[in-house]
Symmetry: C2
Subunit: 304 residues, 2 copies
DNA sequence: GCGCTTTACGCTGCGCGTAAGTATC
DNA sequence: GATACTTACGCGCAGCGTAAAGCGC
């Protein structure tokens, strides 16, 4: 009672009457019978505690208080419409912002194509991409810096308390070496056969390295280099300074003359990729739709 | 359907739930049963076309779209409250502005006391006073520069087409002269007895002069001076340079030693004072209440 | 008397509360 | 099994439309 209720419906009726200055016309403009419209205005006046219109049979016009309220009513109605439109735009993917963290290998290779498809369909959405190693990706999810992450959570699959993970795919590994390398002619590749050759490793905190170490343990490789970026691996391999083993989704780095890739079907040698989000709270419509697209496209990729 | 309806009630419920994050508490905060409150939120979500809350049995929290809408909702509700409060303030005379035009004689003498009383009761109201001769006063009413005027419309009392006039009082006239003037000893004053003496006239377009001319016609006075301001009349009379005849409401100018005033009950010699406003459109609450006070106080004055 | 607003009066349906249902921990 | 949201359901009343009645010109 202390705060009188007010609805956009009342405001629209009020403004219609203020413009038409005629109950009958304003009523049909509002899709109401004239008596119903009259009652609506009366109710509004009562709840405001002020006469808004001077009506005598021949003319209807705003009182001074009505004029005062007219300005407020227009502004309120505009603002309400704006708020509704803004929300609708977000729901309809005409506006919005999605923040994604992804492993560098995904961020550089596979993900941009999906982003391009997504942005072509929803050009009003802004997408922020942070490329970082798994742990940093997950920290960003936890800290609310990103909506979700594409990472390789080595440990707990989906029970990290405040996180929720969904397994996307298991990325198989491939040998990469020069075309003139003896291993190319090897019929059947095994870990043991790789071990003697000079090897280019990724840094120890990379998901590639961790998957590799876990699968080959306790076998020791002949590590000659340990680098941060896959592009560096490419350079070293191409120069014939070593061989390496990398996940399928990173092979785009190695599609060049003189370099060969071969599937390496060793047991347990897969990099598990997960989509990670906070447990509490859902994704925004925009984030969810991007996540859905990622899942769908990655599904196709794995099948094909 | 195209513009969904929205009410302050819905916004309050939404914000209550956003704060409490618990349907039961938010419901009793809104003085509703929990199921009714639940339905209210559901209706809001449906009409907005967006899920605003993620609810599972154990926790209720805003979706990203809900967070977006929360900011809008707060602003909308604040603005609506502001508009309502502003209107209520005007109705309750805590805010407002009244513009009055009045004859100089009223503006200088009687009116300020009424204004003081009015402003003491309604300190939030601002009152603008324009002092002008009758015609100018009425022109200001017509032009919307003032809410109403206190003037002496010689001609049409209440049928000026776009104007509405209300007769306030008939201001009787008084002789003013020096205490040592022979007329002071006159038992019974008549127009003829005044005629020989040097006379101080007001300007021809003043209401005082017009009432005087109309009542005395065709008698001619011995006009020695013709001045614009009553204060000048006072000076001339006090110096013994002439006598004059002025309305009762201006006598405050002549309350000084050596000057005497005497009622002059000539037939037809009255200045009619009117409260003039536009025909169309009512006065604001503030203007109406000031007008009412003026009428009331002037009524008492005439009775007393 | 005409035009427009208000009043009168059934009626539908929205929205409430009570009570039972269901899911999650 | 306790807790909290949802569904089910009957009911009252706000709000609608139709029809009749004021009320200024």
């Amino acid at each position: 009672m202390r705060p009188p209720d007010l609805s956009t419906r009342q405001l629209r009726a009020f403004l219609a009457l203020a413009e038409q200055r005629n109950f009958t016309r304003a009523a049909q403009h509002s899709h109401l019978s004239q008596p119903a419209f009259s009652a609506l205005i009366r109710t509004l006046e009562d709840s405001l505690g002020a006469r808004l219109f001077d009506r005598d049979t021949r003319s209807v016009q705003l009182t001074p208080e009505g004029q005062l309220f007219e300005a407020s009513a227009r502004r309120l109605l505009d603002d309400a419409g704006q708020a509704l439109q803004d929300l609708a735009d977000h729901v309809a993917l005409r506006k919005g912002r999605v923040r994604v963290a992804a492993l560098p290998s995904l961020a550089a290779g596979w993900l941009p194509g999906v982003f391009a498809e997504y942005l072509a369909a929803s050009p009003g959405i802004r997408v922020d991409l942070r490329d970082a190693l798994s742990d940093a990706c997950i920290a960003m999810v936890r800290g609310g810096e990103v909506d979700f992450a594409l990472a390789a959570t080595g440990a707990e699959p989906s029970a990290q308390g405040d996180l929720r993970s969904r397994r996307l795919c298991a990325d198989g590994f491939h040998l990469v070496c020069r075309a003139d390398h003896p291993l190319v002619r090897e019929k059947r590749l095994t870990a043991r056969k790789l071990a003697p050759w000079p090897f280019v490793q990724m840094a120890r905190n990379s998901s590639v390295r961790q998957a590799l170490d876990a699968a080959l343990h306790p076998l020791r490789l002949n590590t000659q280099f340990e680098v941060e970026h896959l592009a560096t691996v490419t350079g070293l391999v191409e120069a014939g300074l070593g061989i390496s083993v990398v996940p399928a989704l990173t092979l785009f780095h190695f599609r060049r003359d003189g370099v060969v890739t071969r599937p390496l079907p060793l047991p347990g040698l897969r990099r598990q990729l997960y989509l990670v989000q906070r447990r509490e709270g859902s994704l925004s419509v925009a984030a969810q739709s991007l996540a859905d697209l990622i899942v769908a496209r990655l599904g196709e990729l794995m099948v094909g």
